[in-house]
């Protein structure tokens, strides 16, 4: 049976995606531009027999997520940039303790209080760890409202498959725009998910301990190695959108809402005969390095466009290994870019 289409905001699509993915605990603290998520959850969670807590801070919300995750339940928290900084402590502990949870960041402008407009200034924080220690989050970056919904469902699957926090990285554009989407059939969640490791009282078995402390000789080294092997394995979850790259001279690399806006620019320039294509990474960690490397190998040039002063471009350069020319165009925060804004930078890069 085909589900009927609904017209909703990106933020609500994420909340609805979580609900349909079997999320039954939500913990959050208000911050613009993601308040639609806790507002939706405050009603949806109790109705679904779950729990909603407006925490006293993002620190507490993320630690509530840690506690719920330790019980093997599907749980989520969401925030925006300043709040994400506060969540990093718990995310580091969750990664260290191998706990699954979904975290949403609707990236706004920074540093500091910055502004409440869209930005991609949190790329480094999202994909390079964010908190202390040697760990990674799996990072998903939706470019449409439908994708925001679908990737939220995927986020829960990945969180449990890898026992690691998964981050959905959007921004005010994705969060606030409204589009029609087709929802999926709600996931039937196995209540015994995490059955082999979750906490529930030891009963007659050996007690389980969920911790990130490893003091005995070599224990932490072994644990960190195990985590790194997991991040390697997660490489197979790599996802990206490829648009008109085959005959392109220039490949634009852009993600999230910027990727979507650039796509419109490319459509227009194609009509004028400009041979430009797009790679839009959907997973930012793992990063689609292989596809970029192969395109560089074919002699194409690269232009990375971001809503920041240059962060993902470092990963693009690592991926293409100096095989091709690489340029960067940064959209400053505080502005809502239009497809026109990217025309000249693309034309300049093609002609260079």
């Amino acid at each position: 049976m085909l589900m009927s289409r609904i017209f909703i905001k990106g933020n609500v699509a994420i909340a609805r995606g979580a609900l349909d993915a079997g999320c039954r605990c939500y913990f959050g603290y208000p911050i613009t531009p993601q308040n639609d998520i806790p507002e939706f959850m405050s009603k949806a969670m109790p109705e679904a027999g779950g729990e909603f807590v407006q925490a006293e801070s993002e620190v507490a919300a993320a630690n509530m997520l840690l506690g719920a995750a330790a019980c093997g339940i599907r749980a989520m928290t969401s925030s925006s940039s300043p709040g994400m900084s506060l969540k990093q402590e718990a995310l580091s502990y969750m990664a260290g303790s191998e706990l699954p949870g979904v975290v949403v960041n609707m990236n706004r402008g920074g540093p500091g209080l910055g502004d409440i407009g869209p930005s991609q200034g949190d790329y480094f924080q999202s994909v390079k760890g964010g908190g202390h220690g040697d760990y990674r989050l799996l990072v998903l970056a939706p470019g449409t409202v439908q994708e925001a919904y679908d990737l939220t469902i995927l986020a829960f699957e990945l969180a449990f498959a890898y026992r690691n926090p998964v981050l959905i990285l959007g921004d005010a554009i994705i969060g606030q725009m409204q589009e029609p989407i087709t929802p999926q059939k709600p996931v039937a969640v196995d209540p015994f998910e995490g059955g082999s490791w979750r906490l529930e009282g030891a009963g007659q078995r050996e007690p389980r301990v969920i911790k990130s402390l490893h003091l005995t000789d070599g224990a932490l080294a072994g644990h960190n190695l195990k985590l790194q092997e997991k991040y390697q394995r997660a490489g197979k979850e790599c996802r990206h959108e490829e648009f008109l790259t085959q005959d392109a001279e220039l490949i634009v690399v852009a993600y999230g809402s910027i990727g979507r806006i650039v796509k419109s620019t490319i459509r227009k320039l194609r009509k004028e005969g400009v041979r430009v294509g797009l790679i839009r990474p959907i997973t930012l960690f793992p990063f689609p390095s292989r596809v970029l490397f192969d395109l560089a190998d074919q002699g194409k040039k690269f232009l990375t466009i971001e809503h920041n002063m240059g962060q993902m471009v470092e990963d693009v350069r690592l991926a293409i290994c100096g095989k091709a020319e690489s340029r960067f165009y940064g959209q400053l925060p505080g502005n809502l870019p239009t497809p026109n804004d990217f025309e000249q930078p693309i034309i300049d890069a093609v002609r260079s």
């Binding site: 605990c25 729990e51 507490a60 630690n63 840690l66 506690g67 502990y93 303790s97 906490l199």
Partner: protein, 250 residues
């Protein structure tokens, strides 16, 4: 002659060498927790939320399903545990640096929300694990490595009386302070702790027990002198007693 068993260690207490210093009360409080859980028959159904400090290894001694919380965040972690598994018995075990300093927001709000959890709070007036720095509960005149001249009210404020503060919050059903420095106090402490646990089992709300405890190492005292300090210096400022006991439905 027939052998009579005069004392039996609680089964929930693992039989292993302790990492606590001689005379430290953490071990004594662990034993009380294990004993009460056993008496109430809930050990099998319990999730323990550990914290940061000398007691970080609580899971080495209590044979319970346990999750480690970041420094001060145990009440938030316990909220997540209890909200997802309301059928489980959930308690946190926290020191004074953990609960009264870095985690003050988390304890106040979990208590105010009336989370159906129990909190075991060990107040030894010092940061034990990091080597004896000042805590929010350090007493006036007490010397620590970060108040070498002794705590001074003008500069550092007065030691915080957590059991009284917590008792003032709406969601709290039970708040008490006990000590384990002698047999008489220990027996009382056991009753009080059991009561706090029963409050959770009855689904009534938040239960809090503050233990006045010794840290002979960082107090630079013998175990016996430390026990005496609890009696002569701590109890007069941190009075023992039950500050809230509401058995009604919440």
């Amino acid at each position: 002659m027939e052998e009579v068993l005069a004392y039996k260690s609680p089964l929930l207490l693992d039989d292993r060498l302790s990492h606590y210093c001689p005379g430290c009360h953490h071990g004594t409080v662990h034993k009380l927790v294990a004993g009460c859980l056993e008496e109430l028959g809930v050990g099998d159904n319990t999730v323990c939320v550990g914290s940061i400090g000398c007691s970080v290894f609580i899971y080495n001694y209590l044979t319970l399903d346990t999750v480690e919380a970041p420094h001060g965040r145990a009440p938030a972690v316990a909220t997540g545990v209890k909200r997802s598994r309301p059928d489980k018995f959930v308690f946190t075990y926290q020191g004074d640096g953990d609960l009264a300093s870095i985690g003050l927001a988390e304890i106040m709000h979990a208590a105010n929300r009336g989370e159906r959890i129990s909190v075991v709070f060990v107040n030894n007036t010092v940061y034990g694990m990091t080597g004896g720095q000042m805590a929010p509960t350090t007493m006036i005149g007490q010397k620590t490595t970060t108040c070498p001249g002794g705590r001074c009210a003008d500069r550092e404020g007065l030691p915080m009386k957590m059991a009284e503060i917590i008792a003032g919050l709406g969601g709290v059903r039970y708040s008490a302070r006990v000590a384990v420095n002698n047999i008489k106090n220990l027996k009382k402490a056991r009753k009080v702790l059991k009561k706090a646990f029963e409050i959770q089992l009855a689904g009534k709300g938040f239960g809090f027990v503050e233990f006045l405890a010794s840290c002979p190492t960082n107090w630079r005292m013998t175990s016996l002198a430390a026990n005496e300090r609890v009696e002569k210096e701590m109890i007069p400022y941190f009075p023992l007693g039950v500050f809230k006991d509401e058995q009604g439905d919440s």
